[in-house]
Symmetry: C2
Subunit: 242 residues, 2 copies
């Protein structure tokens, strides 16, 4: 590979799309929400953008995405998956390749991480959570990036247990159905859903129940013997850059 | 995003993994092969590497992958799909992010493209095709990249008609089974395979037959009404960078 000199003006950034479920009240269905950061400088001053920043020469891509996400929002997902590298020539005034990572987070984990972040004295005033169906004006091509992440999520839900990412380790069938409904943007028949999930062999019933204002509901957990096809052979290498 | 200065030493390259099926004789099963380019300079002088090169500031990522692939091998796939951005800190002596694209090519298209390339006076002496099961020493992390591409291919074959990429527009069920067997690296029962494929609704029988040394076999084509979930909302934007 010969350098022509023309590639020196290209810079590499990372961004993260971190999605979680949020419900306004116990009666309402949950919606998918994500954190955005208000830009405090040009270009796109005042617009909202995905959490991210420049890649440092001494850090791996996923490491940079984790670092910039934690710095801006206080979030620390257990892992980030690479979504796509966006590199259209006109996506930014200066030529920028953005390697975008994404993660699904259970809402209780989000609440705990943000509480810890605030307890440590951070006041992230430029961060706000938005429903993906009701986004503000976004900087760069970040609306397209979020659109693509949601498309991937809808596609993945059919062939992997991606909805798991939104749930705590133990969950009710109603909570799992809520996650599927939020992802697919449509209602699912509760009886059909129960039958399909039980037939899939991916859930293990526990002997514990969720109690509350409704009638007690059995808690399930995922059958970890069923192999995840999400990370594959990259998992060891890409998450352990020196 | 504030520049720290430390990101200026990062460069962006593109590479392409182009896979096709090749059989030694009509009796043998086909194998997956790909073209590699022998490096004529350090680092990794003399090792084999994926076709690729530096991203130019004025071109899109896929455009750069297409250009460098055509320059080195004469191949011109109808489209390249983004595979992954590889960015481990130690993958190259100088910090390099490689955005890797991949494509499956029907072998007759490969033969036509290479013949045209040679007819135009090109003699690609540093290019050679290798069986993926029998690779030479590879430069950088290119062995890992090919390993990842093959893993993705095996995973995709279950939920999309990715094997289509290896076939001409019309093909026999035996040719389709050959493609699946090459991808999955195992034998499939011909009768079961026929039943499953016919039940899937993804194939349309034509009234044409492949004749030759064997008994005539019906030709099929893919049902293009069944939507491909491979490219999604990125197709229009990413393939049309200005």
């Amino acid at each position: 590979m010969t350098k022509t000199g023309n590639e020196d003006s290209i810079r590499v950034a990372v961004s993260a799309v971190t999605l979680t479920l949020r419900r306004e009240s116990e009666e309402e269905s949950p919606h998918i929400v994500l954190p955005l950061v208000r830009r405090t400088r040009e270009p796109h001053l005042g617009d909202w953008a995905l959490p991210g920043g420049w890649l440092d020469a001494q850090e791996g891509l996923e490491e940079a995405a984790s670092r910039t996400l934690a710095e801006t929002t206080g979030l620390a997902p257990s892992y980030l998956e690479q979504l796509y590298a966006f590199g259209a020539v006109d996506r930014s005034p200066t030529r920028t390749i953005s390697v975008v990572y994404w993660a699904l987070l259970p809402s209780d984990a989000v609440d705990r991480q943000i509480a810890a972040y605030r307890a440590a004295g951070h006041a992230p005033e430029n961060v706000q959570w938005f429903e993906v169906a009701d986004l503000p004006p976004l900087a760069f091509d970040h609306a397209q990036i979020i659109h693509y992440a949601l498309w991937r999520l809808r596609n993945k839900v059919g062939y992997s247990r991606v909805a798991h990412g939104f749930l705590p380790p133990e969950f009710t069938l109603a909570e799992l159905r809520d996650a599927y409904e939020a992802i697919l943007q449509r209602r699912l028949d509760p009886a059909n859903f129960r039958r399909q999930v039980e037939a899939s062999g991916t859930l293990i019933p526990t002997d514990r129940f969720r109690t509350g204002s409704h009638r007690p509901a059995r808690l399930y957990r995922y059958n970890t013997d069923v192999e995840l096809a999400d990370r594959g052979p990259l998992a060891p290498e890409e998450t352990r850059t020196p």
